[in-house]
Symmetry: D2
């Protein structure tokens, strides 16, 4: 048994459930240098928080996140709340010398994200680590994709094609939620889904987006408020944009919650001068790989990313035994615990989260100005 690290998690909805699983399980599969102790769960409603703590295995409950941050038995704060509270919780935790894992998108505005990135950078000087939870970087197939690009197997990247398609808002009678309120969620499909594909595209290709042209749409303007009336939707239902990367690659991006029949189709295609890659999260254990070296019988290889020498896979099952969604979070906390122990900065950093935030802001800016090309400053 390795040394323990006390974790305090704020928020216990969907993200809280899957993060809890990762904290409980990581040391059962990975040889992590720190063993997480599920010290305290934060939630405003004491009864519901207690239920969640019992269900998910947390030792204690705090109804005030400040109290959770202040606990002596908490050395790491995991922020699983909606985006409007990320900044204050994360900043307080860093200030208190606690390592931070923060859900994505990092913040609801560039200003907040800048403050967080600066604080994270300062904290790192003191050995306090922070990570933004772009868990899709930990899909073995996407980690393998990055490896292939980094090794030069794809050559110079020319095209990126990224979509994140869901359909849960397709029905106009689907009710209002906090995710459709700008003040809570920051944006709609853009921040929720677009953030993932922006980060994934940059992660896999190793390039940074330098400019965008965008438009957004809200197909259904009002939704049932649960009390017989209708509430205004104040975020985008869909966002589409063109992008250029510092590598010279061209990109197209689409994030939508209105692609009927697509449940979680986070898709990424990359075409380079030597090869191509294609990925779809609905088949997350597969990576399609094309190599121009393959000769007359070339074709996209359907690589089942379940071999022991594929990223993260060695910790799990034999070839052909698939992994699922929650494994990405287990990989994430494994990497975070290792980075903390080794005293290095984990990736994606808050600075990486800020870069994504700047792209999202540029998308909204372009969409508000007739799709005019909008550059993203200070990208490295």
């Amino acid at each position: 048994m390795t040394e323990e690290i006390g974790v305090g998690m704020v928020g216990h909805a969907f993200m809280g459930a899957v993060h809890s699983h990762a904290w409980r399980s990581v040391h059962r599969f990975f040889d992590v240098p720190l063993t997480p102790r599920l010290a305290a769960l934060g939630g405003r409603d004491a009864v519901r928080a207690k239920e969640a703590a019992d269900k998910y295995g947390w030792a204690a409950v705090e109804t005030d996140w400040r109290a959770l941050v202040a606990r002596d038995d908490v050395q790491l704060v995991d922020v699983c709340t909606p985006g409007d509270t990320h900044a204050e919780i994360a900043l307080a935790a860093l200030a208190a010398g606690k390592h931070v894992l923060c859900e994505k998108p990092l913040a609801n505005s560039v200003a907040e994200a800048e403050e967080m990135a600066a604080a994270a950078s300062a904290a790192a000087e003191r050995g306090v680590r922070s990570m933004v939870a772009f868990n899709y970087r930990r899909v073995p197939a996407l980690a393998l994709a990055r490896r292939l690009v980094a090794e030069g197997r794809i050559g110079d990247v020319r095209h990126v094609r990224a979509v994140y398609l869901q359909d849960w808002l397709s029905d106009p009678e689907s009710p209002m939620t906090w995710r459709l309120r700008r003040e809570k969620a920051g944006s709609g499909a853009l921040g929720d889904l677009g953030a993932h594909i922006v980060d994934a595209a940059q992660f896999v290709t190793g390039g940074l987006i330098t400019g965008v042209s965008a438009t957004t749409e809200t197909f259904v303007k009002e939704r049932p408020d649960g009390a017989g009336g209708r509430d205004e939707v104040t975020v985008d239902d869909a966002a589409v944009f063109l992008a250029r990367f510092d590598s010279g690659a061209l990109g197209t991006f689409e994030a939508t919650r209105f692609a009927l029949g697509r449940k979680n189709a986070m898709r990424l295609e990359v075409n380079g001068s030597r090869g191509s890659l294609a990925f779809d999260f609905e088949s997350m254990n597969e990576l399609s790989v094309f190599s121009s070296d393959d000769g007359p019988e070339s074709g996209f290889r359907r690589v089942l990313v379940t071999e022991a020498d594929h990223p993260y896979v060695g910790a799990w099952w034999p070839p052909g035994h698939l992994l699922g969604y929650e494994h990405t979070f287990t990989h994430e906390v494994a990497d975070l615990l290792t980075a903390i122990s080794e005293g290095v900065d984990p990736a994606p950093s808050f600075a990486d989260g800020l870069r994504v935030q700047r792209v999202l802001a540029a998308v909204e800016d372009s969409a508000g100005h007739g799709s005019a090309w909008t550059t993203i400053g200070d990208t490295r």
Copy 2:
């Protein structure tokens, strides 16, 4: 045997070969009211034209297209030349009272296309018919897609996702051709591939594109000229654009010759309020159909579009016996011959070709002005 119609075809490269096959074969499979007679083939080089005529089954050869248009035994002129000569040949043929089938894109400029559409409209008054050869409308799967949208099975269209991916220019040493010269081809991937997906998207959804935001790229600026030097590429290698339809749908489009491993991936996805469609020309006998009526076991249906009640299929083989690329041209001329015989205007008309041309022009315009949103006027 039905009444014959004399066909004269100008050009005998790739398009000439496949058009010849259609003219030779159409009455063997379809009960067309007119039987084509392959009267004359036009080509500037007498020797090569004669070889092609023998190979493809044309009775005579003309080295001057004007002579071909003037022949008494030619009632229909099929224009298979590069885009820079479409306008003059088609205009002359219409003026001579000959029906015209013209390869796409209709012309190399909006001005030419406008003149052609006006001439076609005037000719129609005199019973002379014209059609632009967007053959992908005659892929049974895409014709079925249009039928499903028209029947309301997809509901209101919200998203269109269209790409046309090829890879034959991916290698920088791939040599210069007329297709990479602006004065000959008009544009690059945009006019060659983009024209197809613009027409197909409008055809399938029944909507018209009203505005675009675009950018284009030439990845390889110079190519081997075959004489030891290098020639400047003056067209786009790739074009990407966002679009809005008059129906309110959002679209993303991409045309490229640099998508390594994609040989002819003309893909179209449509998401509506009741259902979705997905098509890939590399699997051209299939249409993926999602219906929100399908209940708890819903999923994209892989419809093998080879049933007798699917468009065009009844003329061919039993279910599961696939059709190929050239069948789309056979379907095209079957429809054209029927329209001529029935005295109605065939689709797609030159006016439809003009609409596509305007979209292409708007794409280039937007790309030249910082991707600024650019509207397409006079779309209906």
Copy 3:
């Protein structure tokens, strides 16, 4: 224009239509040394035969196949009738010194097939050629598969998995046809579909089946006779069998007309010591290829078999432009005409057809004897 060869075809149903297309078109695409002339079409009903001849482009009609065989302008007889007349027509044609193309299965019994193979062998001595029409050998993907096995790319073949799935009899109310009468068709799914996969498996792997264990089933015993009554089905609806090859490979085979939703799923999988292959006729332009040399990113390659250096493809369109079902017949007659001109025996020969027939007979024999292992004698 090369020298002509007069073709006489007996039968003008489905197979007649597709063969006609091949004879009409082959020299338009392939540089064949003989140009087919569609001399005469044989059919018992003069009116229907004349209609078919006009439709398909045959110059004359004969209501007696003997007269057709005897015509001076016929040098090649194409037998497209049901299996019960293959033997007498083919034997008469060979005796008359006419080359023969005979539809599969070669005959309705081993005895007939033996007589035909002997006659073909004797005729070959006199320069008269014969071929049995296993057209699936001419699917480019399957021809490529054979090439890969022959080159050693798959290594020693260990497993063959072959199914041919259709569903047109799944409905018990589907009416009686000659294909369900033993005296006409010889057998049911076994001879119609099983013959194809037996030939294809032997063709691709280069091995011969040495023994089988089998069982067959007739799910629907009686079918509507079209006159209000019901007729007895006297053939198998489905046949399944295990097989061993002289190479040591193990095989499983299934032929059925009751696989609901499978329209023409002729599937072949081969696993060897160095690689694997998978094919499905419903995606006939694709071959899946796995190579153990591909290293950590190995996976089945989806090879789009539309490259100029793939078998037969150079005669057609650019990469990614698909071929269809009838192309296999065009390839077949191209090969036959070349063999005739070069004075060599074409493949598959009647001897190859006999080998398949012996396997089918062994399947029925085993099925009739408690699935007992049944060897196939004289296989090379």
Copy 4:
């Protein structure tokens, strides 16, 4: 927190790791009436067992399984050892009044399985429950498949096509293991992989196999023993067989470890009179469903089995967020705990395991007698 149940597990290799995860996690996701306490882990090597116990979260270690069975804090014994010890451990546990979960195949012989089934039946009278761990029944897609058949959605089942393909023995230099020794493993691919597809086919269709015709093969007779020599392989590398079900359906089965490129392709296809199903474990979150009611746009639906109303899925993540291999074990123990608490017999029972064992024995018997049809007695 519900009442606890003490679990003792014997064996800590691959199966032990995945069972441990299930015991640790089940109550975090499912509202199970009993909460497992990981009381003791059994392993002969004290050091390795202790390491495993720490890694997997077991409170104690026993080096003698008899001591583990005898522990007061163990109410349920989980047997994860090779097949040669299943019988004695399970019988002892049942005799001691402990519930039993036993890995598959139930035993290495029919005689052992009969004794186990009899003991389980007797124990059930005393409220002691037993289950054999055919975990693939708990793949949501296969549970959904069974539901669809049971609801009549597929109609009468006519064809079953089941293969389980792996490739880890394809290389002749792959070393000897206990799985290749008859005295330890009972059989090779047959018992390891064939057992799964026999159970799954019976589970999904609701039919029982009544007879088989089979053959088996050992492609590589000797393998490296790790000490410079070679050891004899005494089990099958592959087994293929035909089967008939009491429902009248025909089946084909294949189990092999030599299908290069197939990592864990447990595939099941079912064709009925109203619909069809297809499943592949390498895409375990998908079920292909064909319904003859779907009309002219019918086709296999790719159902992503990740909806809340699909079996087991409600406990996990939103639609489109995939589950993996180990989830099947979590589902398994959830069902077992529920059955124990409710006082009902869980499925699959030892009697179900015995039925599978009888099929496996019949396969070996048939293979040893010239593939003669071999009936399976006493199937209900």
